[in-house]
Amino acid sequence: MIMNNIFNFKRFAAITTKETGEYFRSYGVSVISVLGIYLLFFLLFLLEGGSVSTLSRINLISLMTAIIMVVAPSKLYGTVNHSRKGLNYVLLPVSTLEKTLSMFFMTTVFTTFIMTAGLLILDTVVYLIMPLRLNEMLFTTKTMGILGIEIISLVVIQSWFVLGNMLFKNQKVAKTILSLLGLVIFIGLLFLLTFHTIGYEKVGLFFEEQFSDMALNIDGSKVRIFGIGGMREVVKDLPIFRKIMTIQYILWAVIVLGCWTGTYRLIKTRKY
């Protein structure tokens, strides 16, 4: 009975099915518009006469996916904390955990999949029509790896927007961007203060020591293979880089978990 009030797969499947059914009514036009904009950008690049590099295409896909991902929470769940419009959602006989997991599925998994799949299919169609104007197909292990990392970082950013969607009652995206900027400035100031306390010279010496061997250890052949876009692939075997990456991934996981736990709490305790 207690377990049944926390999580029930049948209920979770029912709310996810309901929200998937309502997805395109709320967000379909935006998704299609962004796909259209990508195609337009592509055509404009190609009309200029040159070819479009793989990195440019990955960056463009990441940008388009980022836009759709950060706007998704407010488009799909913007009314959840509204005193009148949010009642249908909060009173639906589904547990808070099921609602939160369904929200995660719709905003993070489904939206990201729809967007990247849509953009990659468009890209492939253009490539098949004009293979000479594009360097390569994006469906390769290497490019998918780079795109995967980009998407993971977008998931981190999106989780902040999901929390912002629950915290702010109106102008949710704008206020979340401002809060993100505020946070970045605050962390920057915190670092500056720390460096100031330790002493800038000591900090400089520390980094010099850490990176002194880096140039010697870089595998030059990898630079040639991966290009600038694959810098991560080139340096990933370096111990210092691996340490930084580990810290970064732990930090990302903490941010994502923190934001989603906050969202869960806000759904559970919101008063109407």
Binding site: A14, N88, L91, K271
Partner: protein, 276 residues
């Protein structure tokens, strides 16, 4: 069953309830009456789990409403005074949301919509406010929840629809269900609500069944005013009065006059009506 024990509730410094105690049993349609700002909607929201109360202060079917557990939510429905309309058609609202309520029947939803003359294939945004209200009432009743909380349900309905609403709600009363209807427009719900709950000044002024009310007070209209009347109001037919029923008259309850009488003679009603 809804059990409210010693409930206190405030909006920042504005105290709405102070030690409110109330017990609502199955098989009744409770009329929740009171002046503006007395806390009718607040009480319904506390019962529905939309506002926080202390766990011991409010129990609905044994659940603390504010926890909003699925087993609690699937047996209660709260229809606000101005419900937000969902995207899509009326039929889609039933199809998409009804699945979460074990008692929901799509055929019943369609049949109620048909009685209210609302087309299921119409999009919500294309309906008038009154038609949207009828669609919401049809949905609320077709969910077959054990507890139904209706906040000013007759607001926005035209005159024929108000009569139809009364008839439909009367057809949905059963021994397993509690309906609580909050309203200002008591005449819209006369002959439907029993018992009556009147809220005033952070507490329950009157909580009594219609039978008890008619046993203790009578509602008469006379050409001359009576100084002993608890309430008297001049009407085209004479003076409509509420008096202590010393002569054991069997009269029909005039809810509006009763409400005014209770507000004017709080002590008398406190003394003569037992608290439920």
């Amino acid at each position: 069953m809804i059990q409210i024990n010693d409930l206190s509730f405030s909006y920042s410094r504005n105290k709405v309830f102070d030690s409110l105690t109330l017990s609502l049993e199955k098989g009744n349609v409770y009329g929740l009456l009171g002046q503006n700002g007395v806390g009718k909607t607040t009480l319904l929201k506390i019962m529905a789990g939309l506002l926080k109360s202390e766990q011991a202060a409010c129990l609905v079917n044994g659940f603390h409403p504010y926890k909003r557990q699925p087993a609690f939510l699937e047996d209660i429905y709260y229809l606000p005074e101005e419900p937000a309309y969902p995207g899509g058609t009326v039929a889609e609202m039933g199809k998409n949301n009804g699945v979460f309520y074990p008692g929901f029947k799509m055929e019943k939803f369609y049949s109620l919509l048909d009685r209210f003359e609302v087309k299921p294939e119409k999009r919500f945004k294309d309906l008038s406010a009154g038609q949207q209200k009828k669609a919401h009432i049809s949905y609320a009743l077709s969910l077959n929840t054990g507890i139904l909380l209706l906040d000013e349900p007759s607001n926005g309905l035209d005159i024929p629809s108000k009569a139809l609403f009364r008839s439909i709600v009367a057809g949905h009363i059963n021994d397993e269900r509690i309906m609580v209807i909050s309203t200002h427009q008591v005449r819209d719900l006369e002959n439907l609500i029993d018992p009556v709950i009147i809220l005033n000044n952070q507490r329950v002024l009157l909580h009594a069944a219609i039978q008890e009310i008619t046993e203790k007070v009578c509602f008469v209209t006379k050409s001359d005013s009576d100084p002993d009347a608890l309430y008297s109001e001049e009407t085209p037919l004479g003076y409509a009065m509420v008096k202590a029923n010393n002569q054991e008259l069997d009269t029909k309850v005039n809810l509006e006059a009763l409400f005014n009488a209770v507000l004017a003679h709080k002590e008398w009603f406190d003394e003569h009506f037992k608290r439920v």
